[in-house]
């Protein structure tokens, strides 16, 4: 009896060992490890996800802010300011020696300056949001009646908000490309009309004033607070990241998507959706697409943390999005955003200027481009803001 009993108990113990052994064996065959590719201890051989062991490089928010400030924002505003100084200089040349050549040079420097604005327009926060820079330099459409009235009166105050749509690049668009007038006609017009010449100068000087203002604001005080201002409560309202993401989303949605394409296309025009081709940017030059494309391409560069003057790519919003591991349809959100921007550029590139004609003659193609622009809105406004923890928190929330 006792022997049997012993044998039974030994068997039982053996069974337990066997069971434990099999379990251990089955685990040791499949390697456990961190299976998140973004982690520093990502284990390519791992077969069982043990993601609790994943370790990430801490994301240096301040380093990202420094990079985009030093390598994109400040150089881009510097360039913007230089282009406006060049514009002002070429206007001086034109006024002292009004020839067709000088006039064409003036138009070219105007175009360069407007392109440089597209590279900073979406930085719609901080000092730019404070003075509503977009309305100071590039509100469209231009009100030609006010422009003409100001010129004939010779008395106006460009500081007044009521003159916002009679100044800036769009007023210059009109003044430098007046319908039915050749370059020679323009030269004659400005030579014979002293008020017009003065107005032209005042508008250019006003733009130059603002570009200098914004650059000075950034280089003196704002850049320091921008680089250091990371709120302890996540990226709550008032933090630099919240400011810049909200500014970028707002500008993209309202000014680029809606203003440059959606409004003239008629997408916002009531039930009839009647096209409004004269609302395109630079209607009088009959050339809108390079500006729209430049704004979107520059935005892409900015999101990816690229330097303004060199092709270097350092820490940017894309890296922050990757750090958080945000996905869209199981692809990395950053690559989804990038390919959507590429699609936008591609669709806009397929259109022909003048955009105002294209809208009426080739509406389906413009609509297609608009759809691509539209699809980017949720990617930025929902996916990106939520990935970056940017909350609209002007009051408490309990996260639900």
């Amino acid at each position: 009896m006792s022997d049997l009993f012993k044998i039974q108990s030994i068997m039982r113990i053996l069974k337990v060992f066997l069971f434990v052994g099999v379990v251990l064996l089955s685990f040791s065959c499949k390697k456990r490890g961190c299976m998140d590719e973004n982690a520093i201890n990502y284990d390519a051989d791992a077969q069982i996800a043990d993601n609790a062991t994943c370790t990430y490089l801490p994301f240096e928010k301040t380093e990202m802010l420094s990079n985009i400030c030093d390598n994109y924002i400040v150089p881009a505003y510097t360039n913007f300011n230089e282009k406006n100084i060049a514009l002002s200089n070429s206007l001086s040349l034109f006024s002292s020696n009004p020839t067709v050549d000088a006039f064409e040079a003036l138009k070219q420097t105007w175009k360069d300056a407007l392109l440089s604005w597209q590279q900073v327009c979406f930085l719609d926060f901080g000092p730019a949001a404070f003075v509503i820079l977009n309305n100071q330099v590039n509100l469209h459409p231009v009100d030609t009646d006010v422009v003409n009235n100001n010129i004939s009166l010779g008395v106006y105050n460009l500081e007044q908000a009521s003159n916002n749509d009679a100044k800036g690049y769009q007023a210059l668009d009109y003044l430098l490309h007046q319908p039915g007038m050749s370059d020679q006609d323009h030269v004659t017009y400005f030579m014979s009309n002293g008020n017009a010449m003065t107005y032209l100068t005042d508008v250019v000087e006003n733009i130059k004033y603002w570009s200098n203002y914004i650059l000075t604001e950034w280089t003196t005080s704002y850049q320091d607070s921008f680089k250091s201002n990371s709120s302890s409560e996540s990226n709550a309202q008032g933090s630099s990241i919240s400011n810049l993401v909200n500014g970028l989303c707002y500008h993209y949605e309202s000014i680029i998507r809606k203003g440059k394409i959606g409004l003239p296309l008629g997408s916002f025009n009531g039930f009839s959706q009647q096209e409004m081709p004269d609302l395109v940017e630079c209607y009088y030059r009959q050339e809108s697409l390079p500006f729209a494309i430049e704004s979107v391409s520059a935005m892409k560069k900015f999101i990816n943390g690229e330097s303004f003057n060199t092709p270097e790519n350092r820490l940017g919003l894309d890296d922050y999005i990757n750090f958080v591991g945000a996905t869209q349809n199981s692809s990395a959100l950053s690559s989804i955003i990038n390919s959507q921007i590429d699609l936008v550029i591609d669709k806009l590139g397929k259109l022909n200027d003048p955009l105002s004609n294209e809208i009426t003659t080739n509406k389906p193609a413009v609509t297609e481009a608009y759809s691509a622009l539209q699809q980017l809105v949720p990617y930025l406004k929902v996916d990106m803001t939520s990935a970056l923890g940017v909350l609209i928190t002007y009051q408490d929330n309990d996260g639900d």
Binding site: C34, D36, A39, N51, A52, T53, C54, T55, Y56, L57, P58, F59, E60, K61, T62, S230, S232, E233, S234, N235, A236, S267, F268, N269, G270, F271, S272, Q273, Q274, M276, F323, V324, G325, A326, T327, Q328, N329, S330, L333, I336, V377, P378, Y379, K381, V382, D383, T385, S386, A387, G389, L391, I392, T393, Y394, Q395, D396, N397, D398, G399, D400
Partner: protein, 462 residues
């Protein structure tokens, strides 16, 4: 059975020191005073009740309106005054009634501003109307409006403990879901933005920390009440309360909620603890009070049957309301049917983007609505992820366009009798990517509001 009965009877009708209730009243009054003042000083009265042109009312409370600037200011004035009166124990009964009505009314104006801790405050205020919390350390006793009382029936204090228990335990239960426990969501995302916190920021880079916080948070919510109820471990429990709520206060923009909880949990401390405070207060304020101490509990409160019935009813409602989500099919975090009033705090990370279209019913024309024309950014944000608010806004648009004639800029005359309203809504839950939230073809203007299942919400494909 008799054991349970006895236990219930003892915790309802045995006589207990009134001290915890007195201290609770004073602290509640002070806290509400500070939080109301903070609310007003932040300019939120204007932002939340004057600025919006439309309000997301609760079903059945569509009559609740913010009035005009004077009306809402009066409400807030009364609210602030009542908090002072409650703290001082001055016209206590009227003050608690005024506070409850004003506070609840304000909260009912707009769903956008729903917060669990506001709901908690409403419930506590409701209970305080029935509790004799002015029978000591109060102007009411000092001036002889009411008699002093040393003892209260146990339920007066236990119902408050019960209320706290409901908050914590349901918050804990709601954390027992796959996302919270096994994905450490949403903390995993949130903590990644916290690497620059002083001292503990370093920890935030480890995935492990998110799991630790998630599991720790769930365990804390589930068991803290039981620790606080235990005489021996209470002090450790309360230390945990301070650490837990202190951490959340540092990390998240959740306002006064952590402090409300830190202060309210003092109710779990022993009568002796509270008596010491009462004595301390009396030593500094008491002159001869005009009234004698009443040693017996008043006959009016002796109707044990009614009290038991009402308490039972209250407890039952508190147990059922948070569980009503079980009656709905689908993913709770996605559909949010039965989500509010259920102590679900910091559970989900959700963002949305909604575009509404008003259609001409016959000729297929449609107009894209600019939400900003009707909603504040906060309202728009809250609406974009919550189906009942999407439906309400669609109805508001329907009402705006019903029986209208619109002359458009191109001269077209648009004549609408019964507009069709659709919405294209994209929502992202836990940063897994935005996807279509509701059926974008469904005519929302025809869908009735109500507690029935909203079958026009699409499945969450994650």
């Amino acid at each position: 059975m008799t054991g349970i009965k006895e236990w219930l009877y003892r915790h309802t009708f045995s006589e207990k020191s009134i001290a915890p209730l007195i201290i609770f009243r004073i602290l509640f009054g002070i806290m509400m005073f500070l939080s109301t003042l903070r609310f007003m000083l932040n300019g939120w009265v204007h932002d939340l009740y004057i600025e919006p042109s439309y309000f997301f009312t609760y079903l059945g409370f569509d009559w609740v309106k913010p009035f005009d600037l004077y009306g809402i200011s009066l409400l807030f004035g009364l609210l602030l005054l009542s908090t002072i009166f409650i703290a001082l124990g001055f016209f206590y009964r009227i003050s608690t009634i005024v506070f409850f009505i004003c506070f609840t009314y304000i909260e009912l104006i707009d769903k956008t501003n729903y917060l669990n801790h506001y709901y908690f405050i409403s419930l506590v205020a409701f209970l305080l109307m029935f509790l004799p919390a002015n029978k000591g350390c109060s102007l009411d006793t000092y001036l002889g409006f009411t008699s002093k009382q040393e003892k209260v029936q146990a339920w007066s204090i236990n119902i408050l403990k019960f209320q706290m228990a409901i908050v914590y335990i349901f918050a804990g239960i709601s954390k027992l879901n796959y996302d919270w426990l096994f994905e450490a969501q949403p903390l995993r995302n949130w903590l990644k933005h916290q690497t620059d916190l002083p001292l503990i920021g370093e920890l935030m880079q480890y995935e492990f920390t998110a799991y630790l916080f998630s599991w720790g948070g769930a365990l804390f919510d589930l068991f803290i009440v039981f620790i606080l109820l235990n005489n021996r471990f209470r002090i450790y429990g309360y230390t945990l309360v301070i650490i837990f709520h202190g951490l959340t206060a540092v990390m998240f923009p959740i306002g006064v909620f952590p402090y409300v909880m830190i202060v309210s949990t003092l109710i779990f401390f022993s009568p002796e603890f509270h008596k010491n405070i009462v004595v301390w207060i009396q030593a500094r304020t008491a002159r001869k009070s005009k009234n004698k101490v009443q040693t017996e509990i008043k006959a009016a409160t002796q109707n044990k049957g009614t009290i038991s019935l009402l308490l039972g009813l209250y407890i039952l409602i508190q147990l059922i309301v948070p569980l009503r989500y079980l009656a709905y099919p689908g993913d709770l975090f996605w559909t949010e049917q039965g989500y509010r009033f259920s102590w679900r705090v910091m559970l989900i990370e959700k963002a949305g983007y909604a575009q509404f279209f008003v259609h001409h019913p016959e000729n297929g024309m449609k107009k894209l609505i600019d939400n900003k024309e009707y909603l504040t950014p906060q309202q728009e944000k809250m609406m974009s992820t919550q189906p009942d608010m999407i439906l309400q806004f669609a109805h508001h648009l329907r009402d705006q366009y019903t029986d209208t004639v619109i002359i458009e800029s191109n001269g077209a005359e648009i004549n609408i009798k019964e507009p069709k309203v659709t919405a294209e809504v994209y929502v992202s839950l836990f940063n897994k990517g935005s996807r279509l939230f509701i059926d974008s073809d469904v005519n929302l203007s025809k869908i009735k509001r109500g507690f029935h299942h909203k079958d026009w919400i699409l499945q969450n494909e994650n």
